[in-house]
Amino acid sequence: MTTLGELAKVVRSKNAGPFIMTIDIMFPSKEIYDKVITTGFFTTKLFSDLYNIKSDLIKIYYYDIAHTIKISMPRPFFQGDICDGDNYAGQQYGPLVLINIPI
């Protein structure tokens, strides 16, 4: 078991417009990226449980050329709404950093 923070080159989150947030998990090599994908660990269910968002609204992209897994989902609140605590959605990757990956 290794944490995602140790495996990835960067884990980051950001707005993709005011209504969507997107998470990029970039790995330092094709080898590590492939290993992580082979575990089948990253599923829409995982993000649905973690972020409390319906899994059919979550999109996962595998961007081989940059060894990156990208996850996009609707923001729980529109950017800047009274209940929104992160205008840029820049800290929403937090719960992923210490998650254990079974490799």
Binding site: P18, L50, F78, G80, G85
Partner: protein
Amino acid sequence: MEIRVLGPNGNIGTGFKEESFERGIKLNPHVIACDAGSTDSGAYALGTGIAKPARSAIKRDTRLILLGRDELKVPLIIGSCGTSGSDVAVDWMRDIVIEIAKEENLHFKIALIKADQDKTYLKQKLGEGKIKPLFPEFEYTEETINKSARIVGVMGYEQLNRALSEGADVILAGRATDTSLFAVVPLRMGADPGLTWHMAKTIECGAACAVVPAADSMFVRIRDTEFEVEPLDLDLKVTPLTIAAHTLYENLSPFEIREPEGTIVTENCEYQAKDNRSVIVKGSEFRKETYTIKLEGAELVGYQTVIIGGIRDPYIIKQLDSLFKLADAYFGEKVPKMFPGLKKDDFSIHFRVYGKNGVMGPMEPLKDQVGHEVGLLITITAQSQELATEISKFVAHISAHLPIPEWEGIISTIAYPFSPPEIEKGPVYRFNVNHVVEPDDPFEMFRFSYEEV
């Protein structure tokens, strides 16, 4: 064929290096283009028409760019002026440009392209079914249109192309796609659309795609079957990985990026290092789609006053949820009694607890792991600033003495660092549209004007 594009910076007013930009001018670009806008920092800029960067910072960058342009006499295109690209923000940017032109004795023809949308026009389009939702979908109604403080349409190639055809040297555009600013001149000169749009996407954030990421100038050369990217600061470099990775940034999908005219498809791209600091890209494609113009609208939510505090008592910290539930019920009943005429829905009191779930709110998976102290932000929103502050004074006082069953007698529940504890924050806006319009004609939503300086 080789067409050269200079991008001084990802956003005007963030301060590129003079040497980088001068180096770009010496490489003889066919166009200089720069974005000035963003929705990223929130709806405030669109709601108020006020730019996010400081005027003096924008003037500094713009002066250098105008002087550089004057050496080459090539088109200069600045898009989404004043952050929001609304009409007032374009006029504000025009005044800065005119001021510089007078100070430096520069002469050119300016085009202003305005992007504010007429509410009657939008209601008509809504009635015709010509306004379509984007993901994530929500409803757009006449009521939403009426409530909007301001609505802009996001222009693209067609509108900028027209201003160039009508002889503009300097275009100050309202809300525009970042990419179209860089793409319009190469497309006019006959460059491949796939390569051009992908090139534009690559440099629209300036040297954000460089190692290390910087707010600085970028240079591209588009040839028949490839484009080449180079950061203009010689201490920076780009690699095939950083260029490929840039299509991830702030996009829903790394493979498809939608523009008014169609979609950039990067699925079959190849990225190769040209030398140790520049990259060549091949295989970008562009898929034509139904012509649409995206809308951006902002509505006033209210005016806010905030209270900052902290809590250290472990007994209080362990029952924050129930305590704030109690407070919420108390204020819901008591505030309307204290402020005659005020109804329950006319105000909101929101407690945010840092150290618990302040950053992620209801999405936080670890909301039960709370430390030895927490930070508290209470946000009061009402329909006027005066009212928000009056309610805050009441909320600050009552919250400071919220009781818990473990202690007898009056206690001080919250530590306030400021006196008075309430701070006025001003108006707050929200985005209220995520839709596109299918216009009959690309020009019907935009207004053009020209002036000789």
